[in-house]
């Protein structure tokens, strides 16, 4: 078991993390390149950067958008905060990091970590049931839309149980292994699923500013390629 734990915590974690960083890096580069290219190809340089910035900020801190379906929206915001704060500021994780690379930072008090962990799980349950319960959401959902929240729940639940042996009906080491492997899998999946929005969100309001500024002669070039140029309408 110890070897398994070491494998999950060491090489597998490092591999997943590297895949995530490289994958997200690639997505960022590709997206920025697309935005820059669209800007350069257009004749219309009068882009409202302010409006784009405001829209972006509005959605990064979506307090103004909580009215619509308020409970679901609020739980979604709470989930997003917790899913970043809990793993990054958990004392056990910081200790681990300090031991391996010698960096450490402020940690959440144990009690707060417990509350936030359970909140995350509760919020995930709300998000999943919101998806199942709404006809519109069900109609557009893919498999990953159900699996990803379920997968994210694994490390949170197992982490909580591992931290509270008295509440844990399972033995400690297997619980910890499930925790670490679950987290590795989550991290690994990031660049291949909708989780990419964690880095692309700040850029995602820009396309609707830039996209309508078409390259000036592109419609004619399309027509030339498909052989409809000069043809009567």
């Amino acid at each position: 078991m110890a070897e398994w734990l070491a494998l999950a915590r060491g090489p597998l974690f490092r591999l997943s993390f590297a895949v995530m960083v490289l994958g997200l890096g690639r997505h960022l580069v590709v997206t920025v390149w697309g935005l820059v290219r669209a800007y350069r190809l257009s004749d219309d340089k009068n882009v409202s950067w302010r409006r784009a910035a405001r829209q972006t900020f509005d959605w990064l801190v979506p307090v103004r958008h909580l009215r619509q379906r308020w409970f679901y929206s609020l739980m979604s915001v709470i989930f997003h905060i917790c899913v970043i704060v809990v793993p990054v500021f958990l004392l056990a994780h910081i200790r681990l990091l300090e031991k391996s690379i010698g960096i450490e930072w402020w940690a959440l008090p144990m009690m707060a970590a417990d509350v936030l962990t359970l909140t995350t799980v509760a919020a995930l349950l709300v998000l999943i049931s919101g998806r199942v319960g709404s006809g519109a959401a069900r109609g557009i959902s893919r498999l990953q839309d159900y699996l990803i929240p379920a997968l994210i729940m694994v490390p949170f639940l197992s982490g909580f149980l591992a931290a509270h042996p008295t509440l844990n009906p399972f033995p400690y080491n297997p619980t910890l292994l499930v925790h670490i492997l679950g987290a590795d899998l989550c991290i690994l999946m990031v660049p291949f699923t909708k989780l990419t929005h964690m880095v692309l969100l700040p850029l995602s309001q820009l396309p609707s500013e830039l996209a309508w500024r078409f390259p000036p002669d592109y419609p004619e070039r399309v027509a030339r390629q498909i052989g409809t140029e000069g043809r009567a309408i």
Partner: protein, 496 residues
């Protein structure tokens, strides 16, 4: 909160629902008529056009981004007036966008192509194209979902792309393509096929009518005045249907000393290219700009028309060549003149309840929202707002060109216009001000089909015409009294 859906549908998405026509003569396949076209091999043609679009345009970047980040949160469903009314999962904006993302992922990404090599690949079929063709004209392109998407997915852009591709393979509502054909290749160069002589006659008639109403003969509708600062492009249908709007425009321009003209080379602001195809959009924009250059004008003034304003404002800088002329909407001018004190409006003329409908194309991105309200508040005693309003308004239900597709009227007013009908009813307004030719047509049909009583749909400048005070002309109060006598007489005659 979502209203109770009018149409109940199966909970699961199964077969695409192409609404069958009950019209035995036409046997139409979609909600709208098509012109005959070569129907063979549509999927291959679709992919050919799409490949060319991705190669020469910038759509590929957005498809790539959107297919990565779409979280399918269904927030767009919450704000879509169509989905809210039908409750049909096919009408969820994100579902519609997925129709094109699916094709992109399958045919234009490495993973899609690899998956196809390994078997089990989804293939683009005629059925998928049918579903798309129907779906994209259920959408009124109001862009409410776009500003409400947390991930910034521009569903309207995706609809725009699908419409463009389908137009290139022949799937485009006949009503829209016929209008574009007349505008670009016809003898009259405008969507209503009004010959120059008829336009000149109408302008003369407008002048005479103004002279009669105001007992003042100095208001002109200038034609082909070289070097005028503003070249005026109303929705050309205004010459046929909205005399009061045009007279209001002319009166304001006269009272404020605006240097303006209508050009005989091109006098139509309508741009249905915006709704079907960027190639048409570009050529129509180039026609506008060419007319301004021909007349030696410096600016484009668009009349009361939402999509004409947006297409000029957004696409003159894109397709208008070097040093494109500035684009102004007539309401911006009127507002500026009012705030500068150069326009006098009598506040005692319009006493009925007035409400304002925001045309999506000028309000959604926050371009013209407060100015018409400030104008109305300045002279209408009983101005009331609809809720929601401004950037978050509901579409009239005739957006995206659907208003010109007469065979879709039942859908347009029954489903697309239901929210608007409820909103208008809630205000109790006598006048619904809609500064847009398309919104006006649609709202009048809504008033008729939803049996809204004692509601008049008017332009902003229609009301301004009634209240404007021009030194030397008959005062607005006297004009109102005369109009009332005329109406009373008419009523007395009708009632025997």
């Amino acid at each position: 909160m979502a209203a109770e859906p009018v149409l109940k549908t199966d909970e699961k998405i199964q077969e695409p629902q192409i609404r069958e026509s009950s019209d035995p003569v036409s046997k139409r396949r979609y909600s709208y008529y098509l012109e005959p076209y070569d129907e063979t091999d549509r999927p291959r043609k679709f992919l050919d056009v799409m490949a060319a679009m991705l190669r020469h345009g910038t759509y590929g970047h957005w498809l790539e981004l959107y297919s990565k980040i779409s979280t399918k949160c269904s927030r767009c469903a919450e704000v879509c007036p169509i989905y809210d009314t039908t409750g049909d999962p096919h009408d969820v904006p994100c579902y519609r966008t997925e129709l094109i993302l699916k094709i992109y992922r399958r045919y234009f990404t490495v993973s899609g192509m690899l998956r196809a090599r390994l078997g089990h690949a989804w293939e683009l079929t005629d059925r998928h194209i049918d579903e798309m063709a129907e779906s994209i004209y259920h959408c009124t392109a109001c862009r409410r979902c776009t500003i409400e998407c947390p991930l910034g997915i521009d569903h309207a852009l995706m609809t725009h792309l699908m419409r463009h591709i389908l137009t290139e393979i022949g799937v485009v509502p006949k009503a829209l393509v016929v209008a574009v054909r007349e505008q670009l290749e016809g003898a009259t160069h405008n969507t209503s096929a009004i010959p120059v002589a008829a336009m000149a006659d109408t302008s003369e008639f407008l002048e005479e009518e103004l002279t009669e109403q105001l007992e003042y003969d100095k208001i002109k509708v200038p034609i082909d005045v070289e070097g005028a600062e503003y070249v005026f492009f109303p929705a050309v249908s205004d010459f046929l249907l909205e005399a009061d709007t045009l007279m209001g425009n002319a009166a304001v321009f006269h009272a404020t000393g605006c240097s303006w003209t209508i050009g005989t080379g091109n006098f139509d602001g309508i741009n249905y290219g915006l709704f079907v195809n960027d190639r048409y959009l570009r050529r129509i924009i180039q026609q506008l700009v060419a007319e301004v250059h021909r007349l030696g004008g410096t600016k484009i003034m668009i009349g009361e028309c939402g999509h004409a304003s947006r297409s000029a404002k957004d696409f003159v800088p894109v397709f208008g060549g070097p040093d494109p002329p500035e684009v102004v909407n007539c309401m911006e001018w009127t507002h500026r003149m009012l705030t500068e004190g150069r326009l006098q409006l009598n506040p005692d003329i319009i006493t009925d309840v007035v409400t304002y409908h925001d045309p999506c194309n000028i309000a959604r991105r926050g371009w013209i929202v407060d100015r018409p309200r400030e104008i109305l508040r300045s002279f209408c005693r009983n101005f009331v707002e609809m809720a929601p309003r401004g950037r978050h308004n509901y579409c009239c239900g005739g957006g995206g060109g659907t208003v010109s597709i007469d065979e879709m009227r039942e859908y347009r007013t029954g489903i697309g216009g239901k929210k608007k009908a409820d909103q208008i009813r809630a205000t109790g307004a006598r006048y619904v001000v809609a500064p847009c030719a398309n919104c006006k047509k649609q709202l009048r049909e809504i008033v008729e089909d939803h049996e809204l009583e004692n509601v008049d749909v008017v332009g902003l400048h229609d009301l301004i015409l009634r209240a404007i005070e021009i030194p030397g002309a008959k005062p607005a109060a006297d004009r109102a009294a005369a109009a009332k006598t005329a109406t009373d007489w008419k009523g007395a005659v009708e009632n025997g």
